[in-house]
Amino acid sequence: MKKRKVLAIVMVVMMFAGLTACGKNTTTNSTATPTPTVAAATDTATATPEPTKEAEATATQAPAALETVELTMWGAEEDQTMLAEMVEAFKIAYADKANFVINLGVESESTAKDTVLTDIEAAADVFAFADDQLNELVNAGALQAVQIDTDAIIAANGGSEAGSVKAATSDGTLYAYPMTADNGYFMFYNKEYFTADDVMSLDKMMEVAANAGKQITMQFDSGWYLYSFFQGAGLSLQLQTDGTNLCDWNSATNAIKGVDVAQAMLDIAANPGFVSLGDAAFVTGVQDGSIIAGVNGTWNANVAAESWGDNYAATKLPTYTVAGQQVQMSSFAGYKLVGVNAYSDNVGWAMYLAEWITNYDNQVKRFETRGLGPSNVEAGASASVQASPAIAALAQQSLYATVQRVGGNYWSPTETFGAIMAAGNTDGTDLQTLLDNMVAGITAPVQ
C-alpha cells in the first residue's frame, strides 16, 4: 500500500520534471508576453497628458534617469522591416524624453479587430486596422480617443470632412490615426485595348473586350463590389447605432428602382465581354491575357503592372447603363488606420508612436517602400504619388466613394444575390422577390 503511494508521488514528480525541463527552454525565448493590466482600464482617461509633463520633468535630468517605456506595436507582415526603421527613427527623435523598448508584432490589418477583441488587455499598445473595424473596436472600448495634436492630425489629413478623417471618427470623436487611403477599389485596364475614352463607360469596355475576344471582370458575388451598382443608382444603405442596417435597395419608388439595377446587372453578366471573377481568378486571367480590364484593389497592382508592362493603366470606375441612363458606379473607400489600445500602460507614448508612424515623412516612406497610398493630403499631392496609376485612380474614384460603414448582416445576403446575378438568374425568379429577400437579410436584427 505504502509502496503504491510512493510510486504515485514519484510519477507525479517525474511528470512535472518533464514539464519544467522544457519550460526552461521556452520561457527564456518569449520576451513579449504582455503583462496583465487591469488597473490601466481605469486610469487611461487621466493618463494622456502624462508623457509631456514627465518628458519636461525628465528632460533636464541625466539620460540615466530617463524612464523606460515599453510598447508593443502590431503591423502587417510585409511592413515589418519598414516599421522597424520607423521605430528606430522614433526612438532617436524622442531619445531625450525616454528610453524605449518597442516590440514589433505581426497582425494583418484585415484581422486586427478579431485578435484585439479576443483579449484587449493582451493586444498591442499600437495596432493597424482597416477602417471598417472602427465601430466595433470603439463599441468594445478598445480604442483610445486621439487626445494629442488632434486638430493637427485632422488638418493634415484634409480636415474633418475628408474621407480618411471620417473613417477614423465615431460620434464626433477621432479614434484613430489615418495611415493609408488605398484600401478601396477601382478599374485596372490594359491600354493596348482601351483608350482613355473607352474606360468611361462599362458598356463600351465590354464591347471592346468582346470584339477582341477577351473579357473584363468585376466580382459580383461580394457585397464589397456589389455596393457600386446600388449606391451609384442613388439607393441607400446606412448603418444604425444598434448595429443593424437600413437599406432600400428593393425600393420601387426611387428614381432608379431596385429592379432596374438588378436588370442592369443581369445584362452585364450576360454580355460576352464580361465575367464575374474572384481575386485569384482575376490574377490568373490578367497573367494569361484573357482579362484585359477589371475592378480590383492596390494589392493586385503589381500583378497588373508586371503583366501589362507599359500598357498598365488604372482609372476610376466607369458608368453603367441602368433604366436607360448612364450612372457613375460608386464604391467603398477603404482606409487603413492606426489605433491606440485604451488598455495600454503607456497611452500617452502609444499616441506619440501612432502619430509618428502616420506622420507626413512616414507616409511618404510607406509609399516609397511599399507603394501604399498616403492619407496625408500633402503626401498624397506629391508628384511621385500622383504618378502611380493605382493611387491616382483611387483619388479619382474617391469623389464617388463612401466610407464603409455597414453592419455584419450586410455581407452574406449580398453575396448570395450577387452570385444569382452573375449566374444570370437561371431560375427566372422575380427580381423584386430576390431584392426583397436580400434586403430582409441585410436589415435583419443583429443576433
Partner: protein, 280 residues
C-alpha cells in the same frame, strides 16, 4: 466472367475515389515547385519548375516567412505533447481495463461524457486561465492545453488492453510483480500496435491544430508561431501573390515528420499484430 466485371467496377470506383483524393495533394506538391511565386489557377502543372521555394522557405527567412522557427516551435510542442499524452492515455487505459476499483464505472461514464464536448467550447476559459498563470504565448502553455485532457481518450487503448488475457497478468502477480511491473513488463511489450496508434494520434493533435494555437499565441511575434498559423498568414490577400508557392512548399515539408514517424512506427505496428502474445 461475372467476377471480372464486378472486379472492374470495383476498381473503377476505387480509382475514381483515389483520383479525387490525390489531386489536391499532387497539385500542392507540383505548385510547391512552381517558379511563379503567386497563385495561378489556369494550369495544373507549373510552367517552370524550381527548387527556389524550398530554398527561400528554409534558408532565406524574411518578416513574413520564418519557417524554420515555426517548424521548431511546432516540433517541440508536438514531441512533448506526444510523450505526455501517450503516457496519460496508456496509463488511464491500463487502470480502467486491468484494475478494479470503486469509481471505475462512474469514472468511465464521466470521462466519455466529458470527451463528447468539443474542446473548443472551453477555449476562452482555457485562454484566461493560462493568461492568469502568465502562460499565453509560451510553448509550455500549448503543451499543457494539448496534453491536459488527453487521458479521456482512453477508449480505443482500453479496448485493446481488454483483449489481453487476464491469465497473463494473474501469472505475473503470482510471481510477485506489482501493477507497475505488470504494466511495463507484461502489458506494454505485447501492446505495440496500440502504442503506435496512440503515439501517432497524440503527435498529430498539436501538429495539425490551428484554433488553440491561434488564440493562445496572440502576441503577433512571428518567430514564436506554429507552422499552421504562420502558413495561414501567408494567404492574406496582400501576400498571396508573392508567397503562395512558398505556402505550398511549407505544406509539403510539414507532412515529412508525420510520414517519418509513421514509417518508423509501422514496423512495430505489423510486428505487434503478427507477433502473438500468449504462447503455448
Amino acid at each position: 466472367m461475372k467476377k471480372t466485371i464486378k472486379s472492374i467496377i470495383r476498381h473503377l470506383i476505387l480509382s475514381v475515389l483515389a483520383i479525387v483524393w490525390l489531386i489536391p495533394i499532387i497539385w500542392l506538391f507540383c505548385t510547391s515547385f512552381s517558379a511563379y511565386p503567386g497563385i495561378n489557377i489556369s494550369k495544373f502543372f507549373p510552367e517552370k519548375w524550381t527548387l527556389q521555394n524550398y530554398r527561400l522557405l528554409l534558408f532565406d527567412t524574411d518578416t513574413v516567412a520564418q519557417f524554420p522557427n515555426w517548424f521548431m516551435n511546432t516540433l517541440m510542442i508536438a514531441v512533448f505533447t506526444c510523450i505526455i499524452s501517450s503516457m496519460f492515455v496508456l496509463m488511464v487505459s491500463y487502470a480502467i481495463s486491468c484494475m478494479r476499483f470503486k469509481m471505475r464505472k462512474p469514472f468511465m461514464n464521466i470521462a466519455i461524457l466529458l470527451n463528447l464536448f468539443p474542446g473548443f467550447l472551453a477555449m476562452i476559459a482555457v485562454y484566461f486561465i493560462l493568461k492568469s498563470l502568465n502562460m499565453t504565448n509560451t510553448r509550455i502553455g500549448l503543451i499543457l492545453v494539448y496534453s491536459g485532457s488527453s487521458g479521456l481518450g482512453y477508449l480505443v487503448a482500453k479496448g485493446f488492453f481488454d483483449t489481453i488475457s487476464k491469465s497473463l497478468r494473474e501469472a505475473a502477480s503470482i510471481e510477485g510483480a506489482s501493477q507497475l511491473q505488470i504494466f511495463t513488463k507484461i502489458v506494454l511489450p505485447i501492446s505495440k500496435p496500440i502504442i503506435v496508434y496512440t503515439v501517432i494520434s497524440a503527435f498529430l493533435v498539436p501538429w495539425m491544430d490551428f484554433i488553440f494555437a491561434r488564440i493562445i499565441l496572440n502576441s503577433g511575434i512571428s518567430s514564436e508561431q506554429t507552422v499552421a498559423i504562420g502558413l495561414y498568414r501567408m494567404l492574406d490577400k496582400t501576400l498571396i501573390n508573392s508567397y503562395f508557392a512558398r505556402f505550398c512548399a511549407g505544406g509539403v515539408i510539414v507532412s515529412i515528420p508525420i510520414s517519418v514517424l509513421f514509417m518508423f512506427m509501422q514496423k512495430f505496428y505489423v510486428e505487434g499484430i503478427t507477433g502473438g502474445s500468449v504462447k503455448g
